[in-house]
Amino acid sequence: MNRLVAERSPPRAVIKKGRPAWLLWLIPAGAAALCLWFLYRDYIATGPLITIYFQNVNGLQEGNTQVQFRGCQIGEVKTLTLAPDLRQVKVTTRLAGFAKNLARTGSLFWIVRPELKVGTISGLQTIVSGEYINVQPGDGPPTNVFTGVEQQPLDKEPGALSIIVRGNALNSVQEKSTVYYRSLAVGEVTGYQLASDGRAVLIRARVRKEYAPLVRENSIFWNAGGLDLHVGLFKGAEISAISAQSLVSGGIEFATPTAPGAAATNGAVFELNEKAKDEWKNWEPSIPLHLEKQAPATETLPNSEPELK
Protein backbone atom coordinates (compact mmCIF):
# COMPACT_ATOMS: atom_id res chain seq x y z
CA MET A 1 0.00 0.00 0.00
CA ASN A 2 2.77 2.34 0.91
CA ARG A 3 4.55 1.61 -2.32
CA LEU A 4 1.50 2.48 -4.38
CA VAL A 5 1.09 5.73 -2.56
CA ALA A 6 4.73 6.51 -3.08
CA GLU A 7 4.36 5.88 -6.79
CA ARG A 8 1.38 8.16 -6.97
CA SER A 9 3.42 11.17 -6.20
CA PRO A 10 4.93 11.70 -9.64
CA PRO A 11 8.57 12.63 -10.34
CA ARG A 12 9.44 16.18 -11.28
CA ALA A 13 10.22 17.03 -14.84
CA VAL A 14 13.51 18.59 -15.90
CA ILE A 15 13.32 22.17 -17.10
CA LYS A 16 15.74 23.42 -19.78
CA LYS A 17 15.99 26.41 -22.07
CA GLY A 18 14.29 26.04 -25.48
CA ARG A 19 15.26 27.31 -28.90
CA PRO A 20 14.04 30.78 -29.85
CA ALA A 21 10.91 30.71 -31.97
CA TRP A 22 12.15 33.11 -34.64
CA LEU A 23 14.43 30.37 -35.97
CA LEU A 24 11.29 28.89 -37.55
CA TRP A 25 11.14 31.82 -39.93
CA LEU A 26 14.36 30.59 -41.49
CA ILE A 27 12.39 27.82 -43.22
CA PRO A 28 10.15 30.02 -45.41
CA ALA A 29 13.10 32.37 -45.85
CA GLY A 30 15.16 29.47 -47.19
CA ALA A 31 12.33 28.46 -49.52
CA ALA A 32 12.05 32.01 -50.81
CA ALA A 33 15.82 32.17 -51.31
CA LEU A 34 15.70 28.94 -53.31
CA CYS A 35 12.94 30.36 -55.52
CA LEU A 36 14.87 33.57 -56.05
CA TRP A 37 17.92 31.55 -56.98
CA PHE A 38 15.86 29.60 -59.53
CA LEU A 39 14.57 32.85 -60.99
CA TYR A 40 18.07 34.31 -61.09
CA ARG A 41 19.40 31.23 -62.87
CA ASP A 42 16.53 31.46 -65.34
CA TYR A 43 17.25 35.11 -65.92
CA ILE A 44 20.91 34.34 -66.55
CA ALA A 45 20.18 31.35 -68.77
CA THR A 46 17.47 32.92 -70.89
CA GLY A 47 18.49 34.83 -73.96
CA PRO A 48 16.42 36.71 -76.50
CA LEU A 49 13.44 35.27 -78.33
CA ILE A 50 14.27 35.52 -82.00
CA THR A 51 12.18 34.99 -85.10
CA ILE A 52 13.59 33.34 -88.19
CA TYR A 53 11.71 33.11 -91.48
CA PHE A 54 12.34 30.00 -93.56
CA GLN A 55 10.95 28.91 -96.91
CA ASN A 56 10.51 25.39 -95.69
CA VAL A 57 10.80 23.92 -92.23
CA ASN A 58 10.50 20.27 -93.14
CA GLY A 59 11.73 18.25 -90.15
CA LEU A 60 11.57 20.99 -87.54
CA GLN A 61 9.62 20.30 -84.38
CA GLU A 62 8.15 22.72 -81.91
CA GLY A 63 9.81 22.52 -78.53
CA ASN A 64 12.30 19.97 -79.71
CA THR A 65 14.50 21.22 -82.53
CA GLN A 66 17.76 22.66 -81.34
CA VAL A 67 19.74 25.62 -82.53
CA GLN A 68 23.42 24.83 -82.53
CA PHE A 69 26.58 26.77 -83.01
CA ARG A 70 29.88 24.93 -83.28
CA GLY A 71 28.06 21.81 -82.14
CA CYS A 72 26.91 23.42 -78.92
CA GLN A 73 23.22 23.78 -78.20
CA ILE A 74 22.38 27.46 -77.98
CA GLY A 75 18.64 27.50 -78.34
CA GLU A 76 15.41 25.71 -78.99
CA VAL A 77 12.57 26.14 -81.44
CA LYS A 78 9.45 27.22 -79.59
CA THR A 79 6.78 27.69 -82.22
CA LEU A 80 6.32 27.19 -85.95
CA THR A 81 3.68 29.32 -87.59
CA LEU A 82 2.98 30.38 -91.13
CA ALA A 83 3.62 33.96 -92.09
CA PRO A 84 0.37 35.75 -93.01
CA ASP A 85 1.27 35.75 -96.72
CA LEU A 86 1.78 31.93 -96.64
CA ARG A 87 5.12 32.29 -98.38
CA GLN A 88 7.32 31.70 -95.36
CA VAL A 89 7.31 29.90 -92.07
CA LYS A 90 7.90 31.90 -88.93
CA VAL A 91 10.11 30.05 -86.48
CA THR A 92 10.35 31.51 -83.00
CA THR A 93 13.39 30.39 -81.12
CA ARG A 94 14.54 30.97 -77.58
CA LEU A 95 18.27 31.48 -77.40
CA ALA A 96 20.32 30.67 -74.33
CA GLY A 97 21.68 33.57 -72.33
CA PHE A 98 25.27 32.91 -73.31
CA ALA A 99 24.30 33.00 -76.99
CA LYS A 100 22.66 36.42 -76.99
CA ASN A 101 25.55 37.79 -79.06
CA LEU A 102 24.41 35.61 -81.94
CA ALA A 103 21.21 37.66 -82.25
CA ARG A 104 22.89 40.27 -84.41
CA THR A 105 22.26 41.61 -87.85
CA GLY A 106 24.21 39.53 -90.33
CA SER A 107 23.82 36.26 -88.47
CA LEU A 108 22.77 33.59 -90.93
CA PHE A 109 20.56 30.68 -89.90
CA TRP A 110 20.10 27.56 -91.95
CA ILE A 111 18.59 24.13 -91.37
CA VAL A 112 21.01 21.22 -91.33
CA ARG A 113 19.62 18.20 -93.11
CA PRO A 114 21.30 15.04 -94.29
CA GLU A 115 22.92 15.84 -97.60
CA LEU A 116 24.48 13.60 -100.17
CA LYS A 117 26.22 15.41 -103.00
CA VAL A 118 29.09 14.67 -105.32
CA GLY A 119 32.16 15.07 -103.20
CA THR A 120 30.43 15.63 -99.88
CA ILE A 121 28.19 13.81 -97.47
CA SER A 122 27.07 15.95 -94.59
CA GLY A 123 24.55 16.17 -91.80
CA LEU A 124 24.43 12.40 -91.38
CA GLN A 125 23.78 12.68 -87.64
CA THR A 126 20.52 14.48 -88.36
CA ILE A 127 19.08 11.21 -89.69
CA VAL A 128 18.92 10.04 -86.09
CA SER A 129 18.70 13.28 -84.14
CA GLY A 130 16.42 15.17 -86.48
CA GLU A 131 17.13 18.41 -88.26
CA TYR A 132 18.63 21.28 -86.37
CA ILE A 133 19.28 24.93 -87.07
CA ASN A 134 22.84 26.12 -87.39
CA VAL A 135 24.04 29.68 -87.32
CA GLN A 136 26.89 31.72 -88.66
CA PRO A 137 27.45 34.74 -86.44
CA GLY A 138 27.08 38.23 -87.75
CA ASP A 139 28.61 41.34 -86.26
CA GLY A 140 25.96 44.00 -86.85
CA PRO A 141 23.73 45.66 -84.26
CA PRO A 142 21.48 43.39 -82.16
CA THR A 143 18.22 42.33 -83.77
CA ASN A 144 15.56 39.70 -83.21
CA VAL A 145 14.25 39.03 -86.70
CA PHE A 146 16.18 36.99 -89.25
CA THR A 147 15.63 35.47 -92.63
CA GLY A 148 16.95 31.95 -92.83
CA VAL A 149 19.18 30.91 -95.70
CA GLU A 150 18.62 27.76 -97.67
CA GLN A 151 22.10 26.35 -97.48
CA GLN A 152 25.09 26.52 -95.26
CA PRO A 153 26.80 29.79 -96.13
CA LEU A 154 30.50 29.89 -96.81
CA ASP A 155 32.61 30.45 -93.76
CA LYS A 156 33.71 34.01 -93.37
CA GLU A 157 37.37 34.62 -93.91
CA PRO A 158 38.48 38.11 -93.10
CA GLY A 159 41.56 39.13 -94.99
CA ALA A 160 41.02 36.66 -97.81
CA LEU A 161 41.81 37.91 -101.32
CA SER A 162 38.73 37.99 -103.55
CA ILE A 163 39.38 37.66 -107.25
CA ILE A 164 37.32 37.11 -110.35
CA VAL A 165 38.29 34.52 -112.92
CA ARG A 166 36.79 34.95 -116.36
CA GLY A 167 36.32 31.82 -118.39
CA ASN A 168 34.60 30.61 -121.55
CA ALA A 169 32.62 27.98 -119.72
CA LEU A 170 31.99 26.93 -116.18
CA ASN A 171 32.83 23.28 -116.90
CA SER A 172 32.90 21.40 -113.63
CA VAL A 173 33.57 24.42 -111.41
CA GLN A 174 30.90 24.93 -108.77
CA GLU A 175 30.46 26.76 -105.52
CA LYS A 176 33.04 25.61 -102.96
CA SER A 177 35.32 24.18 -105.66
CA THR A 178 38.91 24.40 -104.56
CA VAL A 179 41.53 26.85 -105.75
CA TYR A 180 44.92 25.13 -105.98
CA TYR A 181 48.48 26.32 -106.04
CA ARG A 182 50.99 23.54 -106.72
CA SER A 183 48.12 21.10 -106.07
CA LEU A 184 47.69 22.57 -102.61
CA ALA A 185 44.29 23.91 -101.62
CA VAL A 186 44.71 27.64 -101.00
CA GLY A 187 41.21 28.95 -101.51
CA GLU A 188 37.79 28.26 -102.88
CA VAL A 189 35.19 29.36 -105.35
CA THR A 190 32.54 31.50 -103.69
CA GLY A 191 30.17 31.93 -106.58
CA TYR A 192 29.75 32.40 -110.28
CA GLN A 193 27.57 34.24 -112.70
CA LEU A 194 27.27 34.99 -116.38
CA ALA A 195 28.97 38.17 -117.49
CA SER A 196 26.53 41.00 -118.15
CA ASP A 197 26.95 40.62 -121.89
CA GLY A 198 26.62 36.83 -121.67
CA ARG A 199 29.93 36.22 -123.41
CA ALA A 200 31.80 34.72 -120.50
CA VAL A 201 31.41 33.17 -117.10
CA LEU A 202 32.66 35.12 -114.11
CA ILE A 203 33.85 32.92 -111.28
CA ARG A 204 34.32 34.57 -107.91
CA ALA A 205 37.01 32.96 -105.84
CA ARG A 206 38.90 33.80 -102.73
CA VAL A 207 42.41 32.91 -101.65
CA ARG A 208 43.08 32.58 -97.98
CA LYS A 209 44.89 35.38 -96.26
CA GLU A 210 48.16 33.56 -95.79
CA TYR A 211 48.34 32.48 -99.43
CA ALA A 212 47.09 35.75 -100.88
CA PRO A 213 50.62 37.02 -101.78
CA LEU A 214 50.92 34.11 -104.23
CA VAL A 215 48.39 35.77 -106.51
CA ARG A 216 50.16 38.33 -108.69
CA GLU A 217 48.93 40.47 -111.51
CA ASN A 218 50.67 38.18 -113.98
CA SER A 219 49.42 34.92 -112.41
CA ILE A 220 47.77 32.49 -114.74
CA PHE A 221 44.68 30.45 -113.92
CA TRP A 222 43.48 27.27 -115.52
CA ASN A 223 40.75 24.76 -115.01
CA ALA A 224 42.02 21.95 -112.82
CA GLY A 225 38.86 19.92 -112.75
CA GLY A 226 38.16 16.80 -114.72
CA LEU A 227 40.60 14.44 -116.29
CA ASP A 228 43.60 15.43 -118.29
CA LEU A 229 44.19 12.83 -120.93
CA HIS A 230 47.29 12.94 -123.15
CA VAL A 231 47.79 10.33 -125.79
CA GLY A 232 51.21 10.47 -127.38
CA LEU A 233 52.88 8.34 -130.02
CA PHE A 234 55.91 7.51 -127.92
CA LYS A 235 54.89 7.87 -124.31
CA GLY A 236 51.54 6.15 -124.52
CA ALA A 237 48.56 7.52 -122.62
CA GLU A 238 48.89 9.88 -119.69
CA ILE A 239 45.98 10.61 -117.39
CA SER A 240 46.20 13.23 -114.74
CA ALA A 241 43.89 14.82 -112.25
CA ILE A 242 44.91 16.92 -109.27
CA SER A 243 42.83 14.94 -106.86
CA ALA A 244 39.85 12.74 -106.79
CA GLN A 245 37.96 15.60 -105.26
CA SER A 246 38.73 18.02 -108.04
CA LEU A 247 37.74 15.29 -110.47
CA VAL A 248 34.17 15.40 -109.23
CA SER A 249 33.75 18.84 -107.72
CA GLY A 250 35.96 20.82 -110.04
CA GLY A 251 38.76 23.19 -109.25
CA ILE A 252 40.90 26.05 -110.42
CA GLU A 253 44.66 26.06 -110.28
CA PHE A 254 46.99 28.97 -110.74
CA ALA A 255 50.68 29.60 -111.09
CA THR A 256 52.79 32.73 -110.87
CA PRO A 257 55.73 33.37 -113.18
CA THR A 258 59.27 33.09 -111.80
CA ALA A 259 59.42 36.87 -112.02
CA PRO A 260 56.26 37.75 -110.07
CA GLY A 261 54.41 40.96 -110.80
CA ALA A 262 52.75 43.28 -108.31
CA ALA A 263 50.47 41.66 -105.72
CA ALA A 264 46.91 41.29 -106.93
CA THR A 265 44.27 43.44 -105.32
CA ASN A 266 40.75 42.54 -104.30
CA GLY A 267 38.51 42.23 -107.31
CA ALA A 268 41.34 41.60 -109.78
CA VAL A 269 40.16 39.83 -112.92
CA PHE A 270 42.06 36.90 -114.46
CA GLU A 271 41.48 34.81 -117.54
CA LEU A 272 40.65 31.14 -117.07
CA ASN A 273 42.60 28.89 -119.43
CA GLU A 274 41.19 25.58 -120.51
CA LYS A 275 44.40 23.65 -119.94
CA ALA A 276 47.71 24.12 -118.21
CA LYS A 277 50.90 24.46 -120.18
CA ASP A 278 53.84 22.49 -118.86
CA GLU A 279 56.02 25.58 -118.56
CA TRP A 280 53.52 27.14 -116.10
CA LYS A 281 54.02 24.24 -113.77
CA ASN A 282 57.77 24.74 -113.86
CA TRP A 283 57.64 28.37 -112.77
CA GLU A 284 59.32 28.83 -109.43
CA PRO A 285 58.66 32.30 -108.09
CA SER A 286 60.06 33.02 -104.63
CA ILE A 287 57.30 34.73 -102.62
CA PRO A 288 57.62 35.15 -98.83
CA LEU A 289 54.54 33.87 -97.02
CA HIS A 290 53.55 34.34 -93.42
CA LEU A 291 52.38 30.84 -92.75
CA GLU A 292 51.22 29.62 -89.41
CA LYS A 293 53.04 26.75 -87.77
CA GLN A 294 50.99 24.13 -89.52
CA ALA A 295 49.41 24.39 -92.91
CA PRO A 296 45.71 23.76 -92.34
CA ALA A 297 44.29 20.64 -93.82
CA THR A 298 40.91 21.97 -94.86
CA GLU A 299 39.45 25.08 -96.31
CA THR A 300 37.53 25.99 -93.20
CA LEU A 301 39.87 27.63 -90.76
CA PRO A 302 38.43 27.72 -87.28
CA ASN A 303 40.55 30.71 -86.34
CA SER A 304 39.37 32.77 -89.23
CA GLU A 305 35.98 33.74 -87.85
CA PRO A 306 35.29 36.95 -86.03
CA GLU A 307 35.56 36.96 -82.30
CA LEU A 308 32.27 37.44 -80.48
CA LYS A 309 32.25 40.32 -78.11
Binding site: A13, I15, K17, G18, L24, I27, P28, G30
Partner: protein, 210 residues
Protein backbone atom coordinates in the same frame (compact mmCIF):
# COMPACT_ATOMS: atom_id res chain seq x y z
CA UNK B 1 0.76 30.81 -11.82
CA UNK B 2 -1.84 29.73 -9.37
CA UNK B 3 -2.44 26.24 -10.58
CA UNK B 4 -3.77 23.43 -8.54
CA UNK B 5 -0.65 21.28 -8.11
CA UNK B 6 -2.62 18.06 -8.54
CA UNK B 7 -4.93 19.56 -11.18
CA UNK B 8 -5.20 18.33 -14.76
CA UNK B 9 -2.84 20.98 -16.11
CA UNK B 10 0.07 20.17 -13.85
CA UNK B 11 0.10 16.47 -14.68
CA UNK B 12 1.41 15.54 -18.09
CA UNK B 13 1.86 12.13 -19.68
CA UNK B 14 5.08 11.81 -21.67
CA UNK B 15 4.19 11.29 -25.34
CA UNK B 16 7.12 8.93 -25.79
CA UNK B 17 7.35 6.68 -22.74
CA UNK B 18 3.98 7.31 -21.16
CA UNK B 19 5.28 8.34 -17.75
CA UNK B 20 2.82 10.60 -16.02
CA UNK B 21 4.63 13.34 -14.21
CA UNK B 22 4.01 16.63 -12.59
CA UNK B 23 5.22 19.64 -14.43
CA UNK B 24 6.08 22.53 -12.24
CA UNK B 25 6.20 26.10 -13.33
CA UNK B 26 7.81 26.39 -16.76
CA UNK B 27 9.34 29.84 -17.30
CA UNK B 28 8.67 31.49 -20.65
CA UNK B 29 11.10 30.33 -23.35
CA UNK B 30 11.80 27.08 -21.49
CA UNK B 31 10.73 23.54 -22.31
CA UNK B 32 9.91 20.64 -20.00
CA UNK B 33 11.64 17.31 -20.54
CA UNK B 34 10.53 13.87 -19.35
CA UNK B 35 12.25 12.72 -16.19
CA UNK B 36 12.62 9.19 -17.56
CA UNK B 37 13.26 9.37 -21.31
CA UNK B 38 14.27 13.01 -21.80
CA UNK B 39 11.61 13.72 -24.46
CA UNK B 40 9.71 16.98 -24.64
CA UNK B 41 6.84 17.22 -22.24
CA UNK B 42 3.96 19.25 -23.53
CA UNK B 43 0.37 20.07 -22.91
CA UNK B 44 0.20 21.43 -26.41
CA UNK B 45 2.96 21.21 -28.95
CA UNK B 46 5.13 24.29 -28.61
CA UNK B 47 4.70 27.11 -31.14
CA UNK B 48 2.25 24.94 -32.98
CA UNK B 49 0.72 27.89 -34.81
CA UNK B 50 4.02 29.41 -35.83
CA UNK B 51 5.49 26.08 -36.79
CA UNK B 52 2.56 25.07 -38.93
CA UNK B 53 2.45 28.52 -40.46
CA UNK B 54 6.15 28.70 -41.36
CA UNK B 55 6.27 25.17 -42.73
CA UNK B 56 3.15 25.67 -44.85
CA UNK B 57 4.38 29.06 -46.02
CA UNK B 58 7.67 27.50 -47.17
CA UNK B 59 5.68 24.72 -48.86
CA UNK B 60 3.49 27.32 -50.57
CA UNK B 61 6.53 29.16 -51.88
CA UNK B 62 8.07 25.97 -53.27
CA UNK B 63 4.75 24.77 -54.63
CA UNK B 64 5.17 27.05 -57.63
CA UNK B 65 8.61 25.90 -58.81
CA UNK B 66 7.59 22.30 -58.21
CA UNK B 67 4.78 22.68 -60.74
CA UNK B 68 6.39 25.11 -63.15
CA UNK B 69 9.78 23.47 -63.55
CA UNK B 70 10.26 20.11 -65.23
CA UNK B 71 10.51 17.11 -62.99
CA UNK B 72 12.48 15.10 -65.52
CA UNK B 73 14.60 15.99 -68.50
CA UNK B 74 15.02 13.08 -70.87
CA UNK B 75 17.53 13.11 -73.67
CA UNK B 76 17.60 10.66 -76.51
CA UNK B 77 20.11 11.21 -79.29
CA UNK B 78 19.72 14.94 -79.23
CA UNK B 79 15.95 14.85 -78.94
CA UNK B 80 15.23 16.11 -75.50
CA UNK B 81 12.02 16.52 -73.65
CA UNK B 82 11.22 18.23 -70.40
CA UNK B 83 8.16 17.19 -68.49
CA UNK B 84 6.42 19.06 -65.74
CA UNK B 85 3.89 17.33 -63.53
CA UNK B 86 0.99 18.96 -65.40
CA UNK B 87 2.38 17.91 -68.78
CA UNK B 88 2.75 14.38 -67.45
CA UNK B 89 -0.88 14.37 -66.39
CA UNK B 90 -1.92 15.69 -69.80
CA UNK B 91 0.06 12.93 -71.48
CA UNK B 92 -1.65 10.37 -69.29
CA UNK B 93 -5.04 11.82 -70.27
CA UNK B 94 -4.13 11.69 -73.93
CA UNK B 95 -3.10 8.07 -73.48
CA UNK B 96 -6.57 7.44 -72.03
CA UNK B 97 -5.09 6.49 -68.66
CA UNK B 98 -7.88 8.43 -67.00
CA UNK B 99 -7.67 6.66 -63.66
CA UNK B 100 -3.92 7.14 -63.23
CA UNK B 101 -4.17 10.68 -64.54
CA UNK B 102 -6.84 11.59 -61.99
CA UNK B 103 -4.88 9.89 -59.26
CA UNK B 104 -1.71 11.82 -60.04
CA UNK B 105 -3.67 15.05 -60.44
CA UNK B 106 -5.29 14.59 -57.05
CA UNK B 107 -2.26 13.42 -55.13
CA UNK B 108 0.38 15.64 -56.72
CA UNK B 109 -1.41 18.87 -57.48
CA UNK B 110 -4.73 19.18 -55.70
CA UNK B 111 -4.02 17.57 -52.36
CA UNK B 112 -0.77 19.44 -51.61
CA UNK B 113 -2.51 22.66 -52.62
CA UNK B 114 -5.46 21.93 -50.35
CA UNK B 115 -3.18 20.90 -47.50
CA UNK B 116 -1.03 23.99 -47.78
CA UNK B 117 -3.94 26.40 -48.04
CA UNK B 118 -5.84 24.55 -45.32
CA UNK B 119 -2.95 24.58 -42.87
CA UNK B 120 -2.26 28.23 -43.58
CA UNK B 121 -5.91 28.96 -42.93
CA UNK B 122 -5.95 26.93 -39.72
CA UNK B 123 -2.78 28.45 -38.34
CA UNK B 124 -3.81 32.03 -39.08
CA UNK B 125 -7.46 31.89 -38.02
CA UNK B 126 -7.15 29.76 -34.92
CA UNK B 127 -7.60 32.76 -32.65
CA UNK B 128 -10.77 33.84 -34.34
CA UNK B 129 -13.93 33.02 -32.51
CA UNK B 130 -15.82 32.43 -35.75
CA UNK B 131 -15.47 29.61 -38.27
CA UNK B 132 -14.77 27.00 -35.64
CA UNK B 133 -16.85 24.47 -37.56
CA UNK B 134 -15.08 25.25 -40.80
CA UNK B 135 -11.71 24.72 -39.14
CA UNK B 136 -12.80 21.37 -37.79
CA UNK B 137 -14.03 20.38 -41.24
CA UNK B 138 -10.79 21.44 -42.91
CA UNK B 139 -8.80 19.59 -40.32
CA UNK B 140 -10.77 16.44 -40.92
CA UNK B 141 -10.33 16.67 -44.68
CA UNK B 142 -6.58 17.13 -44.22
CA UNK B 143 -6.55 14.03 -42.03
CA UNK B 144 -8.39 12.09 -44.72
CA UNK B 145 -6.20 13.12 -47.66
CA UNK B 146 -2.94 12.88 -45.75
CA UNK B 147 -2.23 9.18 -46.35
CA UNK B 148 -2.94 9.62 -50.05
CA UNK B 149 -0.02 11.96 -50.34
CA UNK B 150 2.24 8.99 -49.92
CA UNK B 151 1.24 8.12 -53.46
CA UNK B 152 3.66 10.77 -54.58
CA UNK B 153 6.24 8.04 -54.26
CA UNK B 154 4.60 6.70 -57.39
CA UNK B 155 6.13 9.55 -59.32
CA UNK B 156 9.56 8.62 -58.07
CA UNK B 157 8.95 5.09 -59.27
CA UNK B 158 8.34 6.47 -62.75
CA UNK B 159 11.58 8.43 -62.55
CA UNK B 160 13.50 5.34 -61.53
CA UNK B 161 11.95 3.34 -64.35
CA UNK B 162 13.06 6.00 -66.79
CA UNK B 163 16.58 6.20 -65.44
CA UNK B 164 16.82 2.46 -65.90
CA UNK B 165 16.83 3.11 -69.65
CA UNK B 166 20.16 4.81 -69.12
CA UNK B 167 21.79 2.99 -72.00
CA UNK B 168 19.35 4.32 -74.54
CA UNK B 169 18.37 7.64 -73.13
CA UNK B 170 19.69 9.77 -70.35
CA UNK B 171 17.27 11.08 -67.79
CA UNK B 172 18.08 13.83 -65.33
CA UNK B 173 15.90 14.97 -62.49
CA UNK B 174 14.83 18.56 -63.06
CA UNK B 175 14.46 21.42 -60.64
CA UNK B 176 10.80 20.58 -60.21
CA UNK B 177 11.50 17.27 -58.55
CA UNK B 178 13.67 18.88 -55.87
CA UNK B 179 11.07 21.53 -55.13
CA UNK B 180 8.39 18.86 -55.16
CA UNK B 181 10.27 16.73 -52.65
CA UNK B 182 10.68 19.80 -50.47
CA UNK B 183 6.95 20.55 -50.72
CA UNK B 184 6.10 16.99 -49.67
CA UNK B 185 8.51 17.11 -46.74
CA UNK B 186 7.36 20.56 -45.63
CA UNK B 187 3.64 19.75 -45.73
CA UNK B 188 4.42 16.60 -43.78
CA UNK B 189 6.27 18.62 -41.14
CA UNK B 190 3.50 21.20 -41.13
CA UNK B 191 0.82 18.60 -40.38
CA UNK B 192 3.08 16.92 -37.82
CA UNK B 193 3.66 20.13 -35.96
CA UNK B 194 -0.01 21.04 -35.99
CA UNK B 195 -1.49 20.19 -32.62
CA UNK B 196 -5.17 19.55 -33.26
CA UNK B 197 -5.96 20.16 -29.57
CA UNK B 198 -5.59 23.91 -30.09
CA UNK B 199 -8.49 23.80 -32.53
CA UNK B 200 -10.96 23.33 -29.70
CA UNK B 201 -9.22 25.11 -26.85
CA UNK B 202 -11.41 27.45 -24.89
CA UNK B 203 -10.05 30.98 -24.36
CA UNK B 204 -8.92 30.02 -20.84
CA UNK B 205 -7.08 26.98 -22.10
CA UNK B 206 -5.46 29.07 -24.80
CA UNK B 207 -4.23 31.47 -22.22
CA UNK B 208 -2.98 28.68 -20.01
CA UNK B 209 -1.06 26.84 -22.69
CA UNK B 210 0.36 29.90 -24.37
Amino acid sequence: MDRDPMGADSLVACETCGLVQEVGEVPKGSVAYCARCDSHLIHRRPNTRLRTFTFSLAALILYFPSNLYPIVTAEYHGIHSQTTILQGIRTLFQDRQYFIACLVLCTSILSPAFKIVGLLFLSTTIEWPRWKKARTWIYRVIRVIDPWNMLEVFLLAICVAMIEMGQVASVHPGRGVFSFTAVVALTLLATLSFDSRVLWDSPEEKKRYE
